[in-house]
């Protein structure tokens, strides 16, 4: 579905943001990327979205190499980024300009209902709270029915209650079309709540440090032993990823450990 092949990004000033990322994400899988600041999580999403170009390697979606924004890939940014001069419904339908008006309206209304904002279509973005605006941004990304949906810490600016309800809205929408989701977060609990797999990244340059699979039943019970265990594994990996280079296990060590 989504494949990242030896993806590297070096900025013009010489900063190496990403180094040889190899990741494969299956159809309908939810993948979370966690890691310390500066580990290139956002850069990685921007490369997949086609907003930036990779220095080396490539991004492949259903066999197609992504070099610029692609209709199969949608993104929700850290901020809602609604267009203030468009009513809520026109913001949601922003990417559907090519569709007949009736179908556009139907999709928009449906998405608004799914994010719990039915009847808000005629309002201005300025009349909505931050959480509501972010829900509109999520609806805007979903109505275009992308095969791959990227989420760049879309809940980070919100309080815990709003965040929890947004997780539910997100999963409701996801269950309808089951897109592949790649989300960046700095919240381990959020990652375990939503994702099937969690990749811990390591900074300078950004690379994959450890992968934790989280195939728990949905909806996830945050009090279950499995949830707690997965969370601890991610946190431990995150801890280790933030330590200085030396304790990182070499390939030889890992192989030696595996042979026991």
């Amino acid at each position: 579905m989504l494949r990242l092949e030896r993806l590297s990004k070096t900025y013009a000033d010489g900063t190496q943001a990403l180094s040889a990322i190899n990741v494969e994400v299956g159809g309908g899988e939810i993948l979370a990327l966690v890691g310390g600041s500066g580990c290139g999580k956002t850069t990685l999403l921007r490369l997949i979205a086609g907003l930036d170009t990779a220095t080396e390697g490539r991004v492949i979606v259903s066999g197609e190499t992504i070099t610029s924004p692609h209709e199969a890939v949608g993104i929700v940014f850290q901020e809602p980024r609604l267009l203030p001069w468009l009513k809520v419904e026109d913001n949601v339908g922003f990417g559907l300009a090519g569709l007949p008006a009736a179908e556009r309206r139907e999709r928009v209304d449906h998405a608004l209902e799914r994010v719990g904002l039915a009847g808000y279509g005629k309002r201005w973005p300025r009349e909505l709270s931050g959480g509501q605006q972010q829900r509109i941004a999520i609806a805007r990304a979903f109505v275009a029915r992308p095969k791959v949906l990227l989420l760049d810490e879309p809940f980070s600016a919100l309080d815990a209650f709003t965040r929890a309800s947004l997780h539910e809205h997100l999963l409701l929408l996801w269950e309808e079309t089951r897109p592949t989701v790649v989300m960046v977060t700095h919240d381990v609990e959020e990652a375990v709540t939503l994702a099937d797999r969690i990749i811990v990244m390591r900074p300078k340059p950004g690379r994959v440090y450890e992968t934790v699979s989280a195939h728990l039943d949905r909806p996830r019970d945050k009090l279950s032993a499995g949830f707690e265990k997965t969370k601890r594994r991610v946190m431990n990996a995150l801890d280790r990823s933030l330590r200085p280079e030396t304790p990182r296990p070499s390939v030889a060590e890992v192989e030696a450990a595996a042979s026991y």
């Binding site: 924004p69 001069w85 468009l86 300025r126």
Partner: protein, 282 residues
């Protein structure tokens, strides 16, 4: 008429809160609008009183009643209409040309770094040329009649609009442009659906300051030999020693300028309802 308004409106201001609590927020605003009208009326009354007491030279500083009489006389003879229309016509045509040129060139300069670097220094230095300095040149080039006057006004309107539009385009939020990119808008669609609405508020503000400068430049234009127009009334009043006519023309400029600005604000208001500005919450 003015006295009637001042009496009735404060009365509603007093009864308003008592009759309906929901109008509490409306009343102070209306009262403030009345107070805004009250200030010039008070100043006029003071002036009238000082003149009646012979504390000032009535010949050089005619009281409002004298100015009113002179202007109504001009109006009765149909001359005031001719002068007002002549001035308005020049401002509008000059404004239309200047605003159009300023918008187009400002848009190109805002959109293209190369164009901006090439033309901006020249335009900036031309901008600092005082309006009157153009007059002799425009008369030589375009003659003494309407063309030179309209050209001068257009020059005055051009610069604020050019600066406003170029600056607004440069400061469009990159994050919103990225939304357009994510949805793969073509270049024209990006301009129409993201860039134009984004620069709209700044564009309207630049039009307003352009219109203000248009009124400033129309006087300079009408000084260069006009036979009609409010500027002509100024020159004529000076040469014929009629201060009441000069003051009347000045007041006419103030009223006209305010009305034109108000009309511009009113016409463009529906375009900006989406804005989340301080004005709304104040």
């Amino acid at each position: 008429m003015g006295a009637g308004m001042t009496v009735t409106s404060p009365a509603t201001a007093e009864t308003g809160p008592a009759t309906s609590p929901s109008r509490v927020f409306l009343v102070p605003r209306r009262a403030l609008a009345v107070a805004g009208l009250l200030l010039p009326l008070l100043l006029a009354a003071l002036w009238e009183w000082v003149a009646a007491k012979n504390l000032i030279s009535v010949r050089l500083m005619p009281p409002p009643s004298r100015i009113w009489a002179t202007m109504s006389d001009l109006a009765a003879r149909g001359e005031l209409t001719i002068h007002v229309l002549a001035t308005l016509y020049r401002v509008f045509v000059g404004f239309a040309i200047g605003a159009l040129a300023g918008t187009l060139i400002g848009a190109v300069a805002g959109a293209s770094e190369a164009v901006r670097r090439i033309i901006d220094p020249t335009l900036q230095s031309l901008r600092s040329v005082p309006s009157i300095a153009w007059v002799p040149l425009f008369i030589l080039w375009l003659g003494i009649f309407e063309t030179s006057k309209i050209a001068l006004i257009a020059v005055g309107v051009f610069f604020p609009v050019y600066l406003g539009v170029a600056g607004a385009i440069e400061s469009i939020d990159r994050k919103l442009l990225e939304v357009g990119r994510v949805f793969r808008l073509s270049r024209p669609a990006l301009v129409r659906r993201v860039m134009l609405p984004a620069v709209l508020p700044a564009w309207i503000i630049s039009l307003r300051s352009g219109l203000g400068l248009g009124f400033m430049f129309v006087v300079a234009a009408e000084f260069m030999g006009a036979s009609e127009g409010l500027g002509y009334l100024l020159v004529d009043g000076q040469q014929m020693g009629k201060p009441d006519q000069i003051l009347g023309a000045i007041i006419a400029f103030a009223v006209l300028g305010k009305i034109c600005d108000w009309v511009l604000v009113l016409v463009t208001k529906p375009l900006l309802v989406w804005q989340d500005t301080a004005r709304r919450s104040l």
